[in-house]
């Protein structure tokens, strides 16, 4: 099979994925499966959060516990934009189209501000060693929350309500695809290799000429941007942006997804985020034991399989896929397997 031109190949996941998710969304709507749809939206958001955190915690081996703070920055930015503009038809477009455009802009703006916050937090903190970074990032998350609670324009403790419900399965699907693509491409790129080197042995990497602080900050910024995306998505399905959604318990939940799945494994993060979100929903029936069950699960899993579900391996590292890749490489002339 001839390989498609690079430009098309880059877009392929979106061109294939989005229509599928859109179809799924329409089916759910027709059947009235709102609960499943909402659950999938939550899973999608958690996957975005987990994979984006994996870039920092997994690829780079740094210890960030402030993910919810970046989520909040992205969420509130997006919320402010949609609150101001979503009901105004822009550029003479019909309202539905205009809303989507505003939403897209809001999400991207959220990502940019979250990235900025990531830069501000990362620059000073990434000079610090492991565990200290954890507490510092947690602290930053709390500081961001304190600021929100004290700012009238952000609704203070009550938050911003009445947000339009713009997040749909399609949007979440697009977000998930974007995040997965980002992570995957980062992992196989030169920059990714630098991050892995930093994870394995920072001093050796520095000795090899890798600008460790620079790369760490970059990873932090990217991770924060996608956390902002998740934040923007979740508040537009909740139709409410409140500081209570972004406590450090939330950050810890995301860290759990990443560690459970396996630090450095994108597949792992996807699987564990999905499984845990579903599990928590299942455990709802056992009500008050829910959180206790979650905690026990954590401890037992860490004791039984500390490297997480996937370790650092990915789905395509499985022998089945490796054989197919090998065969494809053999078939293509001029490429050594």
């Amino acid at each position: 099979m001839r390989r498609l031109p690079t430009a098309v190949r880059s877009f392929l996941p979106f061109l294939v994925g989005i229509p599928i998710v859109y179809l799924l969304q329409r089916v759910f709507e027709a059947q009235g499966w709102d609960f499943v749809a909402l659950l999938l939206v939550n899973i999608g958001v958690n996957v975005v959060l987990a994979v984006s955190l994996n870039v920092v915690n997994g690829f780079t081996g740094q210890f960030s516990l402030g993910h919810a703070g970046f989520m909040a920055v992205g969420a509130y930015t997006a919320a402010r934009i949609t609150l101001s503009y979503a009901h105004i038809p822009i550029l003479g477009l019909p309202l539905e189209w205009s809303q989507q455009l505003v939403f897209a802009t809001a999400l991207v703006a959220g990502m940019i501000t979250a990235a900025g916050a990531g830069f501000l937090v990362g620059m000073p903190s990434l000079r610090l060693r492991g565990d200290y970074l954890a507490i510092v990032t947690l602290g930053f998350g709390e500081i961001i929350r304190s600021i929100i609670e004290n700012t009238k324009a952000l609704g203070q403790a009550t938050g911003l309500s009445g947000l339009p419900r713009l997040t749909t399965l399609t949007w979440v699907g697009a977000g998930v695809i974007a995040t997965l693509l980002m992570a995957r491409r980062l992992a196989v790129s030169t920059q990714g290799r630098a991050l892995f080197a930093i994870r394995e042995d920072e001093i050796a990497a520095e000795a090899m000429g890798v600008d460790t602080t620079g790369y760490k900050v970059r990873a932090f910024v990217i991770s924060a941007a996608y956390a902002g995306l998740a934040g923007g998505l979740i508040v537009h399905v909740l139709q409410l942006a409140t500081p209570r959604s972004f406590t450090f318990i939330r950050s810890i939940e995301v860290v759990v997804y990443v560690v459970l799945g396996g630090l450095g494994s994108i597949t792992g993060s996807v699987v564990s985020a999905t499984v845990l979100t579903l599990l928590l929903e299942r455990l709802r029936d056992i009500q008050s034991f829910r959180m206790v069950g979650y905690a026990l699960l954590l401890i037992i899993l860490m004791l039984a399989r500390p490297q997480g579900l996937f370790g650092t391996r990915e789905l395509w590292d499985l022998p089945f896929f490796k054989r197919r890749a090998r065969k494809a490489a053999e078939a293509t002339p001029g490429v050594t397997p």
């Binding site: 954890a134 507490i135 947690l138 500081i143 304190s146 905690a295 954590l298 401890i299």
Partner: protein, 309 residues
């Protein structure tokens, strides 16, 4: 002037609690390089242990003797809790990545917090778990009206608390620097592998450290509950984090450092909240942490350690 002095007293009172909890934190971190997230919850368990013990002992006569007994008993209980946690949750992960141990610590923390929030399973002689509702911690020691001078009130209990904290700190210093156990602890904190080769029973030392740290946390819990009288399963979370900040501020791994760090943090919080923005209380602790780590990472009393390759 009165206000300033009152703030000073308040700050020292708050700082004492942070200092006590920080002592445990700093010891455990010094030996294991682990941020024991569950430490704040052991503090909470200590307070509840004191609550249950005080309940069954029926507090007609609130005497010093009885109060000390309750404190000691709850320290022992928490020592046991600390031992169990270390033995079953942390020891198996000692050779694994730091992040894994931290996750387990978070798991233990959640377990304690949410476990205590369950509805009572055992009803007699005590209601356990206590459930989410806050409880009133009985007055274990009625020392009478506070000292007042210049319209500044100094609760007598706070004076006692500082005295006890100081005594514990001195005791801990003695243990660390004057006993064999302490020397072994310091050896393990330098390099646990080599310490093991030197014949030190590393596992036992680490367990001992945990037990000691948990006992201190329990003492802090009982003292705090004795002053503030309100306990609930979630009240150890934030103090735990702030105690870690205090430990870092004072110099992680240093016992007097934890004391100093705790008091400084308490005072800082008090003055900033009292004179300026009271809505940013928790943010203050973290801001201090960030500043310390950026400007003087070894803390006030810590030593600069060079990381060798």
């Amino acid at each position: 002037m009165t206000e300033f002095l009152q703030h000073l007293i308040n700050g020292l009172s708050v700082g004492t609690i942070y200092a006590l909890v920080a002592l445990g934190y700093t010891m455990v971190y010094g030996v294991l390089k682990l941020i024991n997230f569950a430490h704040g919850d052991v503090y909470m368990v200590g307070a509840f242990a004191g609550y249950y013990l005080a309940g069954t002992v029926t507090s007609e006569q609130a005497t010093l003797g009885r109060a000390s007994l309750i404190t000691l008993a709850s320290m022992l209980i928490c020592g046991a809790v600390g031992y169990v946690i270390e033995r079953f949750a942390y020891r198996p992960l000692r050779h694994r990545a730091r992040l894994t141990a931290l996750i387990t610590a978070i798991g233990v923390s959640f377990l304690l917090e949410y476990g205590f929030q369950l509805d009572a399973i055992i009803k007699k002689p005590i209601e356990f778990p206590p459930g989410p509702s806050p409880r009133f911690f009985p007055v274990l020691l009625d020392l009478g009206d506070p000292f007042t001078f210049l319209d500044v009130t100094v609760p007598k209990f706070d004076v006692l608390a500082i005295a006890v904290a100081a005594a514990l700190m001195v005791g801990l210093q003695l243990i660390v620097y004057r006993t064999r156990f302490g020397t072994a602890m310091r050896a393990v904190s330098f390099d646990s592998n080599v310490a093991g080769l030197m014949g030190i029973p590393v596992n036992r030392i680490i367990s001992g450290t945990f037990v000691l740290g948990s006992m201190l946390a329990a003492a802090a819990g009982v003292i705090n509950a004795g002053a503030r009288h309100k306990i609930d399963p979630l009240f150890g979370l934030i103090p735990g984090l702030k105690a870690f900040v205090a430990a870092v501020l004072g110099g992680i791994g240093s016992v007097p450092g934890a004391m100093v760090g705790g008091l400084v943090l308490g005072l800082a919080e008090e003055f900033v909240v009292g004179y300026t923005a009271s809505s940013y209380r928790d943010a203050i602790a973290f801001t201090i942490l960030i500043l310390v780590l950026l400007l003087k990472p070894q803390g006030i009393l810590g030593r600069v350690t060079v990381e060798k390759v």
